[in-house]
């Protein structure tokens, strides 16, 4: 008998009588930009409202003029990143500007599917991360977010703020392994 059969047989003989699966309601809640902003800033992110998607460039010029290597398909970039980009090049990226799809006001998280990432490693290896988000795509909570999400694709991540750790004496440090800062441009 294979381990697969052994495990499945053992479950079949040990599991309790079938119980019903509850329905998960789509809870209502405050899906405002204000709440999204308050929560995300509370966990170390920054939120800037811009008039239109085209104005993202001006915001990047204003806030990140000191950063050299930029990867993006939304604003001007000088590092070309695609699926085949090597680790050595990815390591040099200072700023990645990527499209986010759904924002969640209750926890400040943003859905980023693989297709928007240019390369799966980019949102994590970049020193600083900017996500661009349509204000009409902000929902109140995770029930509404998963309801809006038709499928998760091959790979996708909810990202909430910059990389952080509190593993040394519970002292919060921003910039553990991933992005040292995270900004959301809402249009």
């Amino acid at each position: 008998m294979t381990s697969r059969e052994k495990i499945l047989n053992s479950i079949a003989s040990n599991k309790p009588a079938l119980t019903t699966l509850p329905n998960v309601p789509i809870f209502e809640g405050d899906g405002s930009i204000e709440r999204f902003k308050t929560v995300l800033e509370g966990i170390g992110g920054r939120v800037i409202e811009v008039a239109s998607k085209a104005d993202c460039q001006a915001a990047i010029d204003k806030y990140y003029s000191d950063l050299k290597n930029v990867a993006s398909d939304i604003v001007k970039a000088n590092v070309a990143v695609n699926l085949d980009t090597t680790k050595e090049i990815l390591e040099q990226v200072d700023l990645a500007v990527i499209q986010g799809e759904i924002g969640v006001a209750e926890n400040g998280t943003i859905w980023v599917p693989e297709i928007n990432m240019l390369n799966r490693a980019l949102p994590f290896i970049t020193q600083h991360l900017v996500l661009v988000l349509d204000k009409n795509n902000i929902v109140a909570n995770m029930q509404q977010a998963y309801n809006k999400l038709e499928n998760v694709g091959s790979y996708g991540v909810f990202i909430a703020g910059p990389s952080k750790t509190a593993d040394i004496e519970q002292s919060l440090v921003i910039g553990a392994h991933g992005a040292r800062s995270m900004m959301v441009l809402i249009y």
């Binding site: 479950i11 926890n107 400040g108 995770m142």
Partner: protein, 462 residues
Amino acid sequence: MNHQNHPELAEAFNKDFERTTWHDETLWFVRQKRDKAVYPIPEFQDLRTLASEIKDHTLSNLDNYLIEFEQNAIKNGVKVHWAADAAEHNQIVMDIIKSSCKVEGRNTRMVKSKSMLTEECHLNAFLQKNNIDVVDTDLGERIIQFRDEPPSHIVMPAIHLKKEDVGETFHEHLGTTKGEKDPQILTEAARQHLREKFVAADVALTGVNFAIAETGSFVVCTNEGNADLGVNLAKVHIASMGIEKMIPKLHHLSVYTRLLARSATGQPITTYTSHFTKPAEGKEMHIVIVDNGRTQQLGRADFRNSLKCIRCGACMNTCPVYRRSGGHSYDFTVPGPIGAILSPNIDLHKYSSLPFASTLCGSCSDVCPVKIDIHVQLYKWRQIVGQANELPAAKKWGMKGLAKVLSMPKVYDLGGKLARGALRVLPHGLTHNQSMNPWAKARELPDAPKQSFKEWYEENRK
């Protein structure tokens, strides 16, 4: 060496009074953060009920969900492996590395993000014996890996250490300045050190927080981004999961993602909630599904719902015994109240003291996001430990003696009278002798009353 039980290890931890107090307060602070994060969610209690019922249902149909998950994962191009126990899990991981990560003239390099299952299987030691360089990349895990210690908490693995300890460890292993203890500077040193490891890795291993039957996907939650950084740079991704990580549908994640981080650290959500479904072009993804005692626990009607645990650690942060005895005093992969109900299933003899590491106050059950009746199970394990003759002699004979006395009212009355008299006349050094009366170790007995309640009642009832 004899295995030390919880009271012995807890006593050793308590020798450093200041550190014990600090540990207690630090974890209580995390518990308070949890409360602040939970109270503003109006439907939080509804979410707990849903989380509990979804897991109940999943356990009642677990074989079918695992099969559905396997079929979908295979369709996604993921390789699925099954391991009955720890040894088989470790061998599978080794075989994957051998066949998929061939390197010449050096050891294969693995980066790992947090996985309590691989701790349970003692994977690191096994791989290192087989010439695989394993680097734990979660900051807390890296710290304890340098120190060759097990984690003392499932979410905060190095919570037993102070920044001075970490500074000393990093000075030794990463060459930071001696005496440097600023968490910001120490974290930056670890970032630089681990970035090199991420880029150089051949294979990345992660745990699994949730596995979704409907899509064959699995979800990994981190704050540091170490899981994503590792797997997205390496050629091969291995994910180790216990069979109990299943949930039926994608949208069920909406319940658990609202509960996990709020319960664990008081954050609204973890920084990264990563959904892995298909490997990237040209890369490999493997899932190892592990039993290692879980199906046995599923067969124990009184204890099976311990398998609903989502490993948030809230029960540890709130537990007055855990906070004052430290995670290492449990000497089990998962410490605290949840560990005390999981461990006797694995080895009743070795872990017979753990169900007693509790005041049965019930705070663990109150904060559990999936409503496991932890304190009830602790109480039930005590009965089993007693029946299996695993109680320490003093407790066993003490209980037997007390049961006798309580069943004979005359003897009880006489005993009370003698004790009241004795407490008044005997010297403090004798009544509070710590080897004869361990109760008095940190406590004072109240003054003995002149009469018992029964005597007072007889006198005053008219």
